[in-house]
Structures are given as structure tokens and as C-alpha cells.
Symmetry: D3
Subunit: 229 residues, 6 copies
């Protein structure tokens, strides 16, 4: 079992799917990370210095799961689902031979996220099923699968915080809020966290339940136990 | 402008739509509340005592907006979209003459919520547009409209807390979490709260924007301003 | 873990979901069967005799999994999602306390199937998640979950054949064709069979993967190994 | 080939589907009309007199196609998809034995239209495919089938005008505007009129093209032939 | 408040969204127009002459609202959502800094419209919300927002008529028919006109009501006031 | 009447739509075939030899319907919906002038299929309606139109078998299983076969029924005629 995570920018894997990847690893899965753009636009500093810093940050974060990320080095802010990107993704899939690929949803907020998602739709062909991660803030997203990441919350926060150049606390907070919300949609126990995904059946991948770590455990809804004064 | 809020149980209006109703009132709208069931099953105490207590609690909560709620008194836990309920809702609409009705979504978690929503679909006919409130936890819900309730958060919490028999802090927390999440989906400012709704166009109600208080103000997404060390 | 199967007529559980129930049982789940109508219209013979015969047939079929079915005895061909049916289903759920309920899809071919599905939508409330079985012939149905029933095919055929009054070979054939087709959609191995289902997330049931037996194992698509002459 | 048209009120068949029924008749189909309510609320006059007048008007309109309408006589403004209505519709279908049933869409503007549509969904069972007519004004409606009624426009107008008690010119105008619009969606020739419908595949009715008269003929889109001065 | 209108050809802004732009301007919004192609294929005359004539026509039409249009000058009939187009649109957005962008729907009739819509989906990223205009004839389009353009009908007609090379009366007629139809879907007053749009929530743009001029005012549906003779 | 079939690889037309094309021809339609890629990756042999062999196979198969296929010769496994492919398709449509184009669905299993479908969406513009063929195994596909190919089953099998390099019996079997399943969804007679398609209305093509050969004839569902012993 091998999972390929693809993010448009150096910190996207950490923000959108790191908990699930940690859960996969805990279950024995092998992981591969690929980062589509160089991240040169993620700040108001010298682009070359930023690219170098973010590469180090991404390497540090991935290292928390023992992974050395691949950098595709397309220019930040200019990703297009064209032959170059699709070809690079096909080569990546051919090399990695993943059982599952996880990337951004096609309607996520950032044009680069959308382009990467579009390109992977073609590149994945029938070689690997593609799972779409929750959008930023969950806006316009209807999940079909949830993964309990409660046991991996600290590691996810640490991974996001590796991205020091990105003012990461806002993403730690944003991700925790989103993950807490997704856990609540499953009626998860207090403190539970979950990442949510969407999967569309495509031959030969009609049901990929076995590829994903479990959802938060089911819990009954309870009524008030208050007495009436 | 008159808004009719319909909840299945005595505390549903408060949990699911009170902030929006407060915002409507602040804009000068007249409000009417109707509670479909007697709430006899919302606890492990004597049903008759519970019905009485919850009626008082609902009256107190509605009173925060100067409203005297109507009680339709159908049995809790047994709501069905049949002629009796539909007839009662038609009579209510005929009497109140609302410009907008807000109730539960047809796929909300509780069978009573679903039945009330189904019944109102028929009863509303072409007399009043029906807006569906967010489901419990937002599960399975895709909003089309958001209402900024930041200015009414304290009143909403107070209204929910009026329902002392229901162990209300869990609902105060749940509602705040959901409302904070919905505000984030609009990129609302820190601390912003929003209630989310879904509307399906039906003649003669194709666009009901004018009936709803405003969404959270638009805010740009910003990139990191960190320097690279 | 307890699964409640609900069929509109005495042979519906067998045709639409028996393989999955057998797989659940093999994993240790407890099963309960409920049959909504008396089946009096399933033939051109004396209704009372038919009802008696079909009750025996259903009892025999359920017995293959060690289950004694419950008969709700509503009149065949006249099922309506009204207070009587919804009430009966609520009582059933309250008694059985299932972790999962499986019934017909709301757009299945038979009016009784649709009515039962509609009624269960209300009756299930937040007590139990409802899974919808494949429609007859799969017409108009988009599955979200698949269950591998290859190991239970003979038992399913035997269960259907228990319904001697119903000219059962046509249903054995129909079910096998549908189940073979659903397995192919997963690229199942030659001879694999699967039953397909649809689930819509509703609080507190956002992801019910853990409640279902596994899908057919994933298999890669292969290209031709023929030589070119 | 027999077509059963079902309207909630005495003039609904004429407004929403009369052109298609005329086209069916012109192709040799047998027609049957059923009117669910007595129409007592369609005006501000004495209900009994109105019921009588509308019955005569409906009889006159249906007579234009040689049809004697059936009156189910449920109370106007109070239609509910309950056992009484569903039972009446089942009896009607059993008697008429139609190959196709046409009625209102489940999201049409009038509660009675919605209830009739809901009830027919159950009552039709697997006996007859149900086609949903365009909603009032086409609001919230996505057609799947179009029928060219250009040759039957005058008869449709005459049929609507038979409903003298209903101030019918507004409906003649409204229907013509809608029908002209639907023809334009097919790029129909100038003056073409079409009625639009929606069909959802349900076993055994997956493709009902053969049951419907033809759509407006296809016409290419042309570019300007103007010269540039 | 600044609105960027993007049309594939020199007359598209006028036909599909000019009324709304006029309404925006009347409310004080600043406008910017961009035309993606040179329009060389919109006729059977010399392409270079046509390009020149259409540029003048578009300039004249935009001038009615005090706008000087930008011409992106991609070849007519060959628009593709590739890096060149997406890059040009990103540059445009970066320069104009709009609060709202309006363009064609992704399923509009013309390949160039589809390509422009696809490209803007990527280019808009999280910088600006994208609103999709009604398709030609409204075919396959489900609006979510309506804008009352009754007060701007003459100006819209004049703008379309500026495109003398395009045989514009057919578009004046087509647009008025569509706009009258959309107003009727809102039960607009006699003579009312509306343009219809579709918006899909994407972070940070979950509810953009405040960016759009109002819909036609709500009006009740009335029953007949005829007496029965 | 002219139908243009477009397949991504040399055997796709035969597998996915040959029966319908044979039915079109039998009704007098003229046919044109276009194959987007050279098929160099459909085996483990020398690509150049494979390309040559597959070209001959495709020519032989198309010849069964008297058609000489066009080869667009894009590289197998690398199809992208870019200007080159879209331009080639536009040129093809301009030359062939078809009344209907049939190609793969945008969510079919193979990246090349998806890319061809995406490209044709732009290239078809308003010149020709595009019909999407069933996906491989029908996974994730909701048909809107069915075509009875029972009378053309042998010819379809023969056409698939022309592709000797592709180990064709597996596709003969797969196609027959899918086609039998689709016929069953229409309750087709025993032995009936159907191909299924999906069409989305786009101006000026709102209803294309007249362009398609008939669906399997409608047949009633029958109940058991067994006696009860």
C-alpha cells in the first residue's frame, strides 16, 4: 500500500491532508509527497530565497513521517493543466506506482489548486484512484469520506509549523477548526478531529474504502438528562 | 416584512436560526414563531411536566425578540407530513401572512425535523418562500445563503440558555462552532459568526436576496508577511 | 453490531441485499429482518393462501442466516408513508436497536418500495443510518458503496429460490446479472459478485464505512499481452 | 398507445400540457384526463357555483380533443399525498391502463401540484412512466424532453380560454411565452412553440423517447450575413 | 466596488450582461470590460475589416456606460483555456483589481465562451468571485441570482444595436425574450426584465449577494377575480 | 444525417458505440470515424509495429460499416485537451459536417478518453451536439438515452474481434455484459442488448431524440404466474 500526496504549494499537504497521511503511515502504508510549484509567491520577500526556504520547510515537515518530498518546481501562481504538468504527473505516477493519490479538490480556492486537480484527473488515468481533499474552509465541499486524525493532531500541527515563512499559526488554527468541524459532522467525541474527502467512482475504482484509515467511531446522539425544576 | 420561523421542538428555532431572526428584527422585520411538537420527549422526566417547562422556556426565549410563540402541540417524536400537520401549517401561514418562512432542512438529523420540512413544502404552496436552515453539525448540507449574526451572538446564546431543561450549554457550544465555521467559509473576520441556509427557487420566488439580512462582509485572502530568516 | 434489513415484500430482502447480510453475519453481525407487506398481490392465486405460503417462504429463506423475520403485514400494493407505517417502523427500530438499516432506494421501481423508503427516512430519525439498496436492474441508481458477496452467492441463490411461489429463477438470474455487473464496475476478478448501495450523509452518520463488509479487492487494469503477427 | 394527463385543478392540463396531448392525439394516441381537485378555490365567488362552472369548462376544453375528463373531486387547496389520494390514483391507473402519465413537477409552485406529483410517484409504481410538466414560469425546472406544439397552438389557446372563470387570457399569454421560450432553447424556427418536460429513469422505464411526439426540428445557428460598411 | 465583465466576442457583454452592468453603474460601481477574441469570424466579410469594425462597435457600446473596453485579441473561434489565455486573464485581474467578475457559463453554446469560462475559473483564483451569465437561450442553465434590468432595457438594446455588423436586431429580440422570461420566473411585473446568473460558492466567496443589484421586487400570485356567469 | 464517432484508441469506437453506429447506418445515416491516438501503447510489442497493426485492424472494423476511419495520430497515452487537439477536432468537424458526434464520457476510466471528451466539448462549439458513450463498466455513469443494438450484436462482436492485437475476446465479453445490462435497465426482452449514452442540453441542442435510433421496446413487468402448492 502506497499513498501519493500532491500539493500545489510547499505547505498544502500539511494543511489539507497530513493527518490522514500520518494515519496511513501508522497503518503501515508507504508515503510519497510531491509539491507542484516552487512556492515563490508565498510571501513578500525575495522569490529565490523564499523558494529555498520553503523547500527546506517542506523537507522538514515531510521528514516527520520519514518522507523526502519531490519538488516539481512549476512556477507558483501560474499552474495550468497543460501537457507539461500532465506529463510530469504521469511520470511521477509511473515512478511512484501509488495505490491512492490525494490532492486538492477541483473547486478549491486557489487557481493553482484547481489546475493541479484538473491535471491529475487526466494524468491518473486508470492507474490510481484520486481522492480530493477538503477545500479551504470547506467552502462548496460535500465530503464522502472522513478520516479520524485525532491521534495525529500534534504531528499535523508540528508539520504545519515547519513552514515558518508562512506565518503558520493561522493555518494551524484554520486546519484544527476545520478538522474539529468535520469530526463533529460524524458526532465525534469531544476533542476528535477528522479530515474530510470526496471521491467520485471511476473504473476500476468504484469503492476505495479499504484504502482509507477509519472514520471517527460512531456515537449515538443523546437527549438531555437534566431534571425539570 | 414578516418572517415566520418554524421549529420542530421548543429549542430548535433558537439553535438553528435565532441569530438570523435577531438580524431580521434589527432591520425592522416583524417575527412570528411556531413550534410544531410539544417537546415531551426531550428528557427523561415526566412528559407533562416537561411539556409545561419547555413551553415556558420557549416563551422566555422568544420573548428576547418580543415574540410570543405559537405552539402547534403535535406529539414529540411522531411528526408526520400528513393532512393534519399540513392543514395546521396552512392555517398558520394564512393567519400570519409571512413574507418568508424558515424551517429545518428536509435531510436534517431528526425525523421530526424532516417531517416538518416535508409538510411545509406542501403547505407553503405559492404563498411564501421557504428557506432551509443548516442541519445539525452541517452534515450533508450545502448552503446557498449566509447571514452575519456576529452582532447577535450574545442574544442567541441567551435564547438557547433559556432552555434549561435541555442541558443547553452543549447547544450553545455546538451552535457557536457551526456559526463560526460558516463565517470562516465566507472568510469572515476573526470572531465573526454566520448562520447558513439553503434556498431552492420555486415560482414566484426565484431570488429572495432582499428578504435576508446581509452575509459577512467580503474580505480578501492575504499571503504571509513573514520575513525569511 | 446489528443490521436491520427491511423489504417491502417477502422476497425483496433476498433479491436486493441478501449477499451483504450474509457477509455481515460472517463478520459476526447480528441480523434482523422485517417485511412490510403481506405479499398478497404477488401472484394470481387466492390472496390468503399466497400470504401464508409467502410467509413460510420468507421464514425459510431468513432461516438460512438463522434469522426469524418480522412481518409488519401491511397490505401488498398499498404501502403509503403515513403515520401507521412510520409508527410501525419507529417501534421496530426502538425494539431492534440496529446499528444499520438497509432498505429500498426511494426511486426503486415499485410503489411499495418507494413508500417504505420514504417512511424509513422519517422513522430512522437519528437512531440509525439508512443504506439504500440497488434498484431493480440498477435503473437510475448511482452507487456509493459496494459489498463483495462472491463467497455468499450460493446462499443468496438458495434464499431467493425459497420463494417458490414467485417463479424465483428469474430473480436468481436477475440478481446474479446485477451483482456481476456491480462487481465489474469495481474491476472484480472473473466470477466476482457485488451488491451496490447508496448512502447520503446525515448527522450523526457522516461516514459509515465501518458498518459495511468490504468491497471487491482492487485489481489493476491490464493491457493486451498479445503479440502482433 | 394511451396517455393519461393529470392536473391538480380544472385548467392545469390545458396550461401545462395540452399542446403535447394534442400532438399525441394527432399521432393516434388515445387520451385520458383526470382532475384531482374540485377547483373550489379558484376565484372569489361561491365555491359550489365555481365547482360547477369549472367542471363545465374542463369538460368543454377536454372535448376539443374528444376527451371526457374524470373528476377526482378532492378539495381544492388541500391536496395531500396520503392513502386516499394515492389509492384514487392507483384505481385510476388500473382502470385507464395508460402507457404514459403526465403530471406536475414535484417542485411546481402550487402545494396541490406538489402533492399530486408526490402521490403519483407512489401510485404509478411500475405500471406507467411518469413525465413531469414544466413548472409555472419554468422556475427551478431543467427539462430533459421537448415537444413541438407549433401545430397545436391555436387549439391549446382555445382550451385555456374555455376556462372563462379563471380570467384565462393571462394563462394564454403565460403559456405562449413559456412555450416560445422552450422552443427557442431548441433554436426552433421563428414562431415555433414547445412544451418541456422532465423524466427520471425508473425501471422498467429507462428511455421513453418513443412515447413522446417529436421535438422542434434541429436548426443550425447562423452567423451574421451583414456587410461591414 | 469594481465589476469586470468578460465576453468572448465583441458583442457578448452587451447581449448577456449589459443590463446588470448598467444597474451596477447606476449604484455607483466602477466597470471594466474585456473582450477575449478579435471577432474576426463574426461574418462573411474580410476578417481584418471585420475586426476593425467590431472594435469600433464594442467601443461605442461600452461608451454608453463610460467604459473603454480592453481587447485581448485572441483569434476568434480558437479560444483555448491554455497558459496564454489564463496568463492574460491573470494579468488583467491583477491590473483591474475587480470585486466581481462576470463571464459566460462553462456550458454556454459557443466553444469560445466555454474556453473563456474555463480559463477564468483558474485565473480568478482567490482574487475575485466569478459569476456566470445565462447561456444563449437559457438552455441547460439553472440560475441562482436574478438582476432587475427593467430600468436599463433601452440602454441595453442600444448597446446591442451598436454592433451593426452583427445583424443586431436578432440579438435585441433574443435578449429581450430571455430577459422577459427570467423576470417572469420571479413573477416580475408586466414589462419587467431580468438577467439571470449562476454562482458556485468558493472560498472566500461563499455569499456574494451584496455585489449584485437587486432582483425584481417580489409580487404575490393572485387568483382569478372573474365572476362566474 | 451524418454521425461522427470519435474514439481515443483504435478499438474504442467498436467497444463503446459500434452497435449504435450500425443502427444509425441501418436507418440510412452516413458515418464518419476518427481515432485520436496512434494506439502505440496498447501492448507490449514494438510501438511502430503496433501502430501499423492497429491501423489495419481499425480500418478492417470500420469497413464492416463501409467506413474509412480518419487517424489523428496523437501519441497514445498522452492526450491533452490543448490547442493542438482542439484545433484538429475543429478541422475535423468543419470537414465532416456531422449532425451528431459521439465520444467518450468526461469521467471515463482512461486519461486519453477524458482528454478527448474535454477537447471535443470546446471544439464542438455550436456546430454539433455531443453524445457521451457509456464508461468502461458503466462505472459512475447515469445514462439519459438507450439504443437497442440487438440486431447488430454480431457485427459489433466482429468489429471488436478485428482488433486481434488487443486480446479482443475480453472486450467482446465486457461489451456484451454491459450492453445486456443496459437492455435490462429498459426491461428489454431476453437477449436484448443496448448501448447507453448521456446527453447534456446545450443550445441549440436541447432535445436530440430524433438523432438516435430507438431504445429497446417497452415491456410491462409481470408478476409470478406460479400456483401455490
Amino acid at each position: 500500500m502506497k499513498v501519493l500526496a500532491l500539493g500545489a504549494h510547499p505547505d498544502d499537504i500539511e494543511i489539507f491532508m497530513f493527518g490522514t497521511l500520518a494515519a496511513c503511515a501508522a497503518l503501515g502504508a508507504e508515503l510519497a509527497f510531491a509539491i507542484a510549484t516552487d512556492g515563490a509567491k508565498g510571501g513578500k520577500v525575495d522569490p529565490a530565497a523564499l523558494v529555498k526556504a520553503r523547500r527546506e520547510e517542506a523537507t522538514e515537515a515531510a521528514g516527520l513521517l520519514g518522507v523526502t518530498p519531490r519538488f516539481l518546481d512549476f512556477p507558483d501562481g501560474a499552474l495550468v493543466a497543460d501537457a507539461a504538468l500532465i506529463g510530469a504527473l504521469k511520470a511521477l505516477i509511473s515512478e511512484v506506482q501509488p495505490d491512492l493519490a490525494i490532492t486538492h479538490a477541483p473547486n478549491d480556492y486557489h487557481g493553482d489548486h484547481r489546475a493541479l486537480s484538473d491535471a491529475l484527473r487526466i494524468a491518473a488515468s486508470f492507474a490510481v484512484p484520486v481522492l480530493h481533499a477538503d477545500t479551504l474552509g470547506g467552502t462548496g465541499f460535500s465530503p464522502t469520506h472522513y478520516v479520524d486524525i485525532s491521534a495525529h493532531a500534534d504531528l499535523k500541527a508540528k508539520a504545519i509549523r515547519s513552514h515558518r515563512s508562512q506565518d503558520p499559526e493561522r493555518f494551524v488554527d484554520g486546519a484544527r477548526t476545520l478538522n474539529a468541524f468535520r469530526a463533529r459532522q460524524c458526532n465525534g467525541a469531544p476533542g476528535a478531529l477528522a479530515e474530510a474527502f470526496r471521491f467520485e467512482p471511476v473504473f476500476p475504482f468504484a469503492d476505495i474504502r479499504e484504502l482509507l484509515p477509519p472514520a471517527p467511531p460512531m456515537r449515538p446522539v443523546t437527549v438531555s438528562t437534566k431534571t425539570v425544576s
